[in-house]
């Protein structure tokens, strides 16, 4: 008897603790946020771009020149370079993801997805990323390779230089560092490149196989230097001596040192959400969640009285646990994600409604309150399980297939379904059992909305 009450109190205190964590770790709610513990400071809600404002860019990566076995490596190198690039500009919490092509992801070709919270000027964002240089080394095409001819305005025919060269594996991803140097004789600025170990080997191989031929150094898709190889270069050093001005050369060195693209990319789609729109969406989401909670609480208490009140307390604990999980995992919240959370509140009390309706039925058939509680829980279990399975199936498949928008919804809904099984069944049962002491009297029967005994005996 006392043990049940103590257990219920412990759950209540734990729930309040979680709620306190959610509350105190939110800058908007905690007045002393600036001076609070760093653990709390590190766990605000993570808002998606549609709520915080920012830019969402999708790039296509051209990997056709890369051998299939190295596509993953190249894409990861690409992600690292862009991430470094974006970080350099002081964007807080950028998310750079690789989306691999294939049947399962539904994506045709390799893509790079860049999320920049707080950057609401797309132009600035695109420029930021566009400045990342693309460095490639190409060798002469075999004699007999068909070449594209270009006819210019005056009718002069020239060979397209791009068809004279073929790509090699050596790209900017193997670059260790670039330095600015001046030619000792001509005083012309030049850019000296140092490759890393893999790059050094590749470069040695390329130079060895192409003695007497040209090796073209491509920057951002066009050849800037086409030196003729005189001998094998085993030390991994190359020099670009275009006709640079000192400023140009210095800029290029800076760009190369912050990372060079391993494969060419092009922008497929962009999305920007202004900060004002994001903030109003957050406010509306919070308001909808509070109203939804109040409506459900009112419904439960009016219809089921004491059990309804207990279910409302369980719902509060459910909300605290879910919100704490959002913070700790962390889950990036979007408008759709908030919708998923709000719907999961409705689903969470579904289980309680099933149990309470069963309890009512048992009470009507003349059982005592204690009996009705235990029978209600055990008989309603199968219905609860079945209705949650179908929701869970939907959430999992949506998560598997979704874009970031759908994923947000699927994740919050799926988490809600799982946690609600715990809160609506276990926690509600512990609380209900703790109320054992009220017995089977008139007041108790009123609180459980049980039919009058007089009616039973009829």
């Amino acid at each position: 008897m006392w043990r049940k009450i103590v257990l219920a109190l412990i759950i209540l205190i734990l729930g309040s603790g979680i709620a306190l964590f959610v509350f105190k770790s939110e800058p908007r709610l905690n007045k002393d946020f600036a001076t609070t513990y760093s653990f709390l400071k590190n766990h605000p809600f993570r808002l998606g771009l549609d709520l915080s404002g920012g830019s969402h860019l999708i790039y296509k990566a051209y990997v056709s020149a890369v051998p299939a076995s190295q596509v993953d490596d190249s894409m990861n190198a690409l992600r690292d370079v862009i991430e470094r690039r974006v970080n350099l500009f002081g964007v807080s919490e950028p998310v750079v993801q690789v989306q691999h092509g294939g049947f399962v992801s539904g994506t045709a070709g390799e893509q790079l997805i860049v999320d920049l919270p707080g950057v609401t000027d797309v132009k600035q964002a695109i420029e930021m990323i566009g400045q990342t240089p693309l460095l490639e080394f190409k060798t002469e095409a075999l004699v007999g390779t068909p070449q594209n001819a270009i006819v210019d305005k005056d009718g002069k025919v020239t060979l397209d230089i791009n068809s004279q060269f073929v790509s090699t594996e050596l790209t900017g991803r193997y670059l260790q560092k670039a330095t600015l140097e001046f030619d000792t004789n001509t005083r012309e600025p030049k850019v000296s490149l140092q490759f890393n170990d893999v790059g050094t080997k590749l470069f040695a191989e390329i130079t060895k196989n192409n003695i007497g031929k040209m090796v073209a150094i491509y920057l951002d898709g066009s050849p800037i230097s086409t030196p003729v190889v005189r001998e094998e270069i085993p030390n991994g050093q190359a020099v670009i001596s275009g006709s640079f001005t000192p400023t140009e050369a210095k800029l290029l060195v800076g760009r190369l040192n912050s990372g060079a693209l391993p494969v060419p990319i092009s922008l497929l789609s962009t999305q920007t959400i202004g900060a004002i729109l994001g903030e109003s969406a957050v406010n509306a989401g919070v308001k909808a969640a509070i109203m939804g909670f109040l409506l459900v609480a009112l419904f439960l208490i009016l219809l089921y009285r004491l059990p309804g009140l207990i279910a409302t307390v369980s719902l509060c604990i459910f909300i605290s646990i879910i919100l704490a999980l959002f913070k700790l995992m962390p889950v990036t919240l979007t408008a759709a994600g908030i919708a998923g959370f709000i719907i999961s509140m409705g689903i969470a009390v579904d289980a309680n409604v099933l149990i309470f309706e069963r309890m009512k039925e048992e009470l009507r058939s003349g059982r005592s309150i204690a009996e009705a509680i235990s029978v209600g829980f055990s008989r309603a279990w199968f219905s609860i399980r079945d209705s949650n399975i179908s929701n869970f199936i939907t959430a999992v498949i949506l998560f598997w297939f979704g874009t970031s928008l759908i994923k947000g919804f699927a994740l919050t809904l799926g988490m809600g379904v799982i946690v609600s099984m715990l809160s609506a069944i276990t926690i509600t049962r512990i609380f209900l059992r703790a109320f054992n002491f009220i017995g089977e009297g008139e007041i108790a029967r009123f609180l459980f909305n049980a039919p009058d005994r007089a009616l039973d005996s009829r």
Binding site: A108, I276, A289, A335, I343, D386, S387, I397, F401, T403
Partner: protein, 300 residues
């Protein structure tokens, strides 16, 4: 139970609603959004004064961006739909919108979706719909795996799928009407709403069918009793519960519709309709159909 007694009327109502949805789908068609079609959507709000629609249309036409759709929003804003815009086009576009910086404006949101991304998303959406439908059918098959008399278990499953189609088609019809009259667009959230309805409404039907089979089992040991009566009794026992569980979800969905973010308004409305008709179909369509099927069987 009156529902079983007047079953043909209730089944008729459902048939009429579905027919209406299919007709509106046929006549109005989908208004496909940029998520799937590709294109650009820009929302701007002017600081003090909004240029007239005619003026803006004229100057935008000069840009040669193809067909441009201008839609006023709020007191000072516009939503503009164009083909997908690249960076420099976007800059030019904003400059034109501000009438060469004469009318200062804030760009609330801008999204430009290239055609390849749109195609990809369409493929993904179709794949997700197929997979979820298959998974739900498997789940129904699993839930009704034990054969029961007098109606065999695959018929329960078949009727569950029919009522599921009903639950999805009516909100789709509603959405098509909304998109025709209020310009709602078929976007990713629409697909998510449809798939969520599948998950939410199937459980309701299964709960009631489970009750019917439980009562059938108990009845069989005592003696032969009219199938319609048992279904009626099961409905009587479970319809309050069925309505209450749906009501809690509908309550939160209504909160989401009335108070929630603009971006999820149609989503909430679709789900509300799905929940409502899901509950309606499990009580007024699926169970009457079950009795009807049993009667046909007997007459054969």
């Amino acid at each position: 139970m009156f529902i079983i007694k007047y079953k043909k009327i209730f089944i008729g109502i459902s048939i009429i609603l579905v027919a209406f949805s299919l007709l509106s789908l046929f006549f109005f068609g989908f208004n496909i959004g940029i998520d799937f079609k590709g294109g650009a959507l820009t929302e701007v709000v002017y600081k003090t004064l909004r240029p007239t629609q005619d003026d803006l249309e004229k100057s935008l036409l000069a840009l040669n961006f193809g067909s441009i759709l201008l839609q006023p929003t709020g007191d000072l804003g516009y939503i503009i739909k164009t083909r997908d815009l690249n960076d420099s086009e976007h800059t030019l576009f904003l400059k034109t919108l501000s009438q060469d910086n004469k009318d200062t404006l804030i760009e609330m949101s801008f999204s430009s979706v290239g055609p390849t991304v749109g195609q990809e998303l369409t493929r993904k959406a179709i794949l997700a719909i197929i997979l979820i439908s298959l998974a739900i059918i498997c789940f129904i098959a699993f839930a009704f795996r034990k054969v029961s008399k007098p109606v065999s278990s695959w018929k329960y499953g078949f009727i569950a799928i029919i009522s599921l189609l009903h639950d999805v088609l009516i909100p789709v019809g509603l959405f098509v009407m909304l998109s025709h009259y209020y310009g709602a667009e078929l976007d990713t959230l629409f697909v998510v709403a449809i798939l969520t309805i599948l998950g939410l409404s199937v459980s309701d039907t299964i709960v009631i069918f489970d009750r019917i089979r439980e009562n059938l089992r108990n009845q069989n040991t005592i003696g032969k009793i009219n199938f319609g009566e048992i279904v009626g009794k099961s409905l009587e026992q479970s319809f309050v519960r069925s309505i209450c569980t749906s009501l809690t979800v509908i309550l939160v969905l209504l909160a989401l519709f009335f108070f929630g973010p603009v971006s999820t308004k149609y989503f909430a409305l679709m789900l509300t309709a799905g929940m409502f008709f899901g509950t309606y179909s499990s009580i007024f369509l699926a169970s009457p159909l079950l009795v009807l099927v049993e009667e046909w069987q007997k007459n054969k």
